[in-house]
Amino acid sequence: MLSLGSLAFLNPWVLAGLIALPLLWWLLRAIPPRPKIEAFAGIRLLLGLEDQERQADKTPWWLIALRVLMIAAVLIGFADPVLNPSERLARGQGPVLILMDQGWASAPDWEERKDAARAAIDEAGEADRAVLFWALGSGEQPVPVSAPVARATMEALEPAPWAPDRQSLADALDGLEVSESIWIHDDISHDQEEASLLSKLSDLGPLTMIGPDAPAMALTPPRLEEGRMLSDVLRLSGGDETRVVIAYAQEEDGVERRVGAAPARFANGDTAATADFNMPAELIARVSRLALADGPSAGGAVLADGSLSRLTTGLVAGDAEETIATLTSASHYLREALEPWAILQEGALSSMLDSPLSVLVLADHGAFGETDQTVLEDWIDKGGVLIRFAGPRLAAAIGESFGATESDPLLPVRLRRGGRVLGGALAWSKPRTLGPFDPQGPFRSLEIPDEVDVRTQVLAEPSPDLPEKVWATLDDGTPLVTADQRGEGWVVLFHVTADAEWSSLPLSGLFVEMLGRIYSLAPGSIAANPDPEALEGTEWRADVVLNGAGGRVEAPKGGETLPGSQLAGGRAEPGVGPGIYLQAGSGASDGSEGGRLVLNQFRTDDSLRSLPAPPVGTRVETLGGAAAQPFGAWLLGGALLLAMIDILATLWISGRLLGGRQVAAGLLAGALLWPSGYADAQDAVSVTAETTLGYVITGDNRIDRISEQAMRGLGFALTSRTSVEPGPPVGVDPARDDMHLYPVLYWPLVRESLPTRTALDRLAEYITGGGMLLIDTQNGKAQFGRASAVEMREIARSLNLPALAPVEGDHVLTRSFYLLDRFPGRWRGGTVWAEAPQPDDGIERDPSIPQFDRVDDNVSPVVVGSADWAAAWAVDEEGYFVFPVGRAGDRQREMALRFGVNLVLYALTGNYKSDLVHAPAVLERLGQ
């Protein structure tokens, strides 16, 4: 191995070939490029001329340089160059301790860490030294093994979703027999006395620290502020940068979907930046996980805890006991309105109070029993939110248990006896609408719909502190929603019912939004952050956990349980990953009534600290930067590329390379030729923009070209004579293209190119769908000719054609624009067939009356003939007719064009002319 700084060659002897390069240079200079041969008629004029510049015939110097470079690249490439040949280990003999942080912060660059570990193990293996490979995450103490075993252990590792376990290393370090150590670390202090660990490691022998270039970042759990969701991104240090945090929500099908993203902008030197999610409240309520967009890890992701997921809500509606829940009942309105915000539990009040609730909604509840009263007051004091609605029962209970002067502790304000009725049958006043919301209150900036009106309400007793408690008023200022904070919780009263009896508020979307705002006040599920004492003796089971890469994983059902004391730290720790834990064994198996605990790696207001500086004498390396990189293959690839360039350059020098103009012309020709054959999806727009005549592509180029020219010729005739102004004709491949865009399709049915089965089926579909086919056998025979009779019959059957009859004197085709009695094309005298008219039903007819009513109302789906109209209609690019038609002047061509005009108008207007043209005659006869 030849080593030059950070570059080494495994086969240096190949480099000897480089000596030959000057020789190559000289040789290449000597040989001129091969001449290009031109046949040239003007050669006589050239004879005797002298070349002006003899020198220019030599291969230009840059081409030679290119070739020399190419050869040099090949030679160096085969010499197996290696950049950064790894030489990490000192020349010792004892076992090597290779440490690898296996925590969440290792996840973003896990592969690079494995590369570094692999390189270190391999190097130890090459030096025949035992390896003590210790992944800091499992907590198991390893024994010295050979390099392949260590490597197998290493390859199977995955990053753990918790902090690396450095503590167990520090504990075991004193007994270790190692001569030197390498630590692939994550650069983050995990509060495990790393300083002493480092000094102990360096005491053992030479220490190499391999750290990441960019340490992992972390994310704090989301919190709600003013209806917005905030989450902090933590980092060690750095300059200006922006990280994106993505919010995921779990859909009903169990799949997580991205619902939002917010940037967190770090200024230079900041260690934390806030991602501010501006999302609708109902989306925020559904957020199940936040994660950093890049560099995902279990620390860079958080599961949304109780403050965001829907709150457990008890709903006690007065009618809940009624067996038939109607769609107008209060419980129905509340259920619908609370659905985005709450996990609802319904039942009687007494059963509600046993389970941990965040919010309790009482629809028209009268007086409370004494026990209930105390329990509720306690619960509110701890942070419960009680939402009450007025109603007849509440109105009846006003002042019942408390005197007129004492206020009900479960109502935010004192109420007056007797409510107020507006807009009743005997009242003068009109129903009231909503007044503006308190600009400081929770309902601020909600849009007030006009249609909400209030007919009946309970009234608050005026008091000095009343205005502070009012969140919403009517337009005359009487309170509609009042609230009062009691301890950490709230009591909220809607002065109307939760059904549509007293007001139309529950019918409006505003109702849902108002409830959502109230929910954002709730301090979160009270069960989310239990006291350590409360956890003593409880058993918990993981429901959802984060994996090392920050992904959300459903924990297996019936997994082993954890004692509550392990969860008391309130954050993930080795062995207990971030996740949502449900209390096990507290009676309810589904966990809905037991406790629910969310653990994340970080908590709000945490920060990251970096690893203490290693002792003097430690080798410090950056992850990924120093890996050995063989790059011979790149050089060889480069040589191949140079060879390509050489070919092009040689061609260019000798003038054989196609000029840009030719290439452009070729591309243009290709572009022009391509769409002419097929009507693709792009064409559909232009095709439908104006009437477009189509023709069926037979595959025979000559016939197709004539068809195209014919449709163009017919288009010119139509444009100049009628109000039909077709666009450029389009060829249609019946097996492939959508044909329903064309009112008429010209189909040259020649024996040489009969359509495929699919094409026939699709053509049949086309004519069933209202299209019209002009079938032209182009052979000028009066009949279809014996030769193709069999095929014709077969085709007619496949197309599902109706019975055909010759087009006779009174057919609409003879008068849809011009009055015609013959339909010549290039040939004359053929019969033209169209759908047979409805059979006579035995009615006597006056033969002198045109029999237009016999003709079916529909346009005939096919017109069949053999006159080769295409040849008569065809015009070339310059507008000249392509084929000679008829012997005497242009009369026959004119008649052919008239037939074409009639046909297109027939296809477009149907039997319109059948009625109109002969209206005078009809009227005349009616008058007789």
Binding site: K36, I37, A41, G42, L46, L49, D51, R54, A56
Partner: protein, 196 residues
């Protein structure tokens, strides 16, 4: 005359044949007698039959492809007028005497020089080996561009020579490039022949 460069559709020979036939049609309609010098149809006749014969003769492939075509000798020079269509690229020794002889006998006529655009512009570059149409002579250059000026000078002097010859004998000299429409020389030929 079989030469065409990459940028044009037809060879000079094709263009000459087309012009000949078109001129024949025009002359036939005008009731003129006409023939094709140096072929079986040399004796001038009028009418459709002569036209058919003319077109048949133009359609026959020549047995050999000589390097340069020399103008055929006018055998029956009595009256009438002669149209020579050629690129006039042959050696002077072959081309000039016939022309001089014809003009010397007092027959008036038109010289139509048909050239390919490549012959007028000399768009060649780099190391090139030029060969004549019959592959008999060749000329190799290392830097074709450098020949361009000299070539163009020679072409111009050849033109001057023809012009000179025409002027001295009272002939008309027309030029035509194959990348242009044949309508122009045809109209010119027709109007010269009609006018006078």
């Amino acid at each position: 005359m079989d030469y065409r460069s990459a940028s044009v559709q037809r060879t000079k020979g094709d263009r000459a044949k087309l012009l000949t036939l078109a001129l024949g049609v025009l002359l036939s309609r005008g009731g003129e007698r006409f023939g094709l010098i140096g072929t079986a149809a040399e004796r001038p006749f009028s009418g459709e039959r002569q036209l058919m014969q003319l077109s048949a003769l133009l359609n026959t492939e020549p047995a050999t492809t000589p390097d340069f075509g020399a103008p055929p000798v006018v055998s029956e020079p009595k009256t009438g007028r002669i149209v020579f269509m050629s690129d006039f690229m042959g050696p002077d020794a072959d081309v000039m005497p016939t022309l001089q002889e014809a003009s010397g006998r007092g027959i008036s006529g038109i010289l139509l020089q048909i050239v390919d655009p490549a012959e007028e512009e000399f768009p060649f570059r780099g190391r090139t080996r030029f060969e004549s149409m019959g592959r008999e002579i060749h000329y190799e250059t290392d830097q074709a561009v450098s020949l361009r000026d000299a070539y163009l000078r020679r072409l111009a002097s050849r033109r001057d020579q023809l012009q000179d010859l025409a002027r001295r004998s009272g002939w008309q000299l027309l030029f035509h490039r194959t990348d242009q429409s044949p309508r122009k020389p045809l109209i010119a030929l027709h109007s010269i022949l009609r006018g006078g």
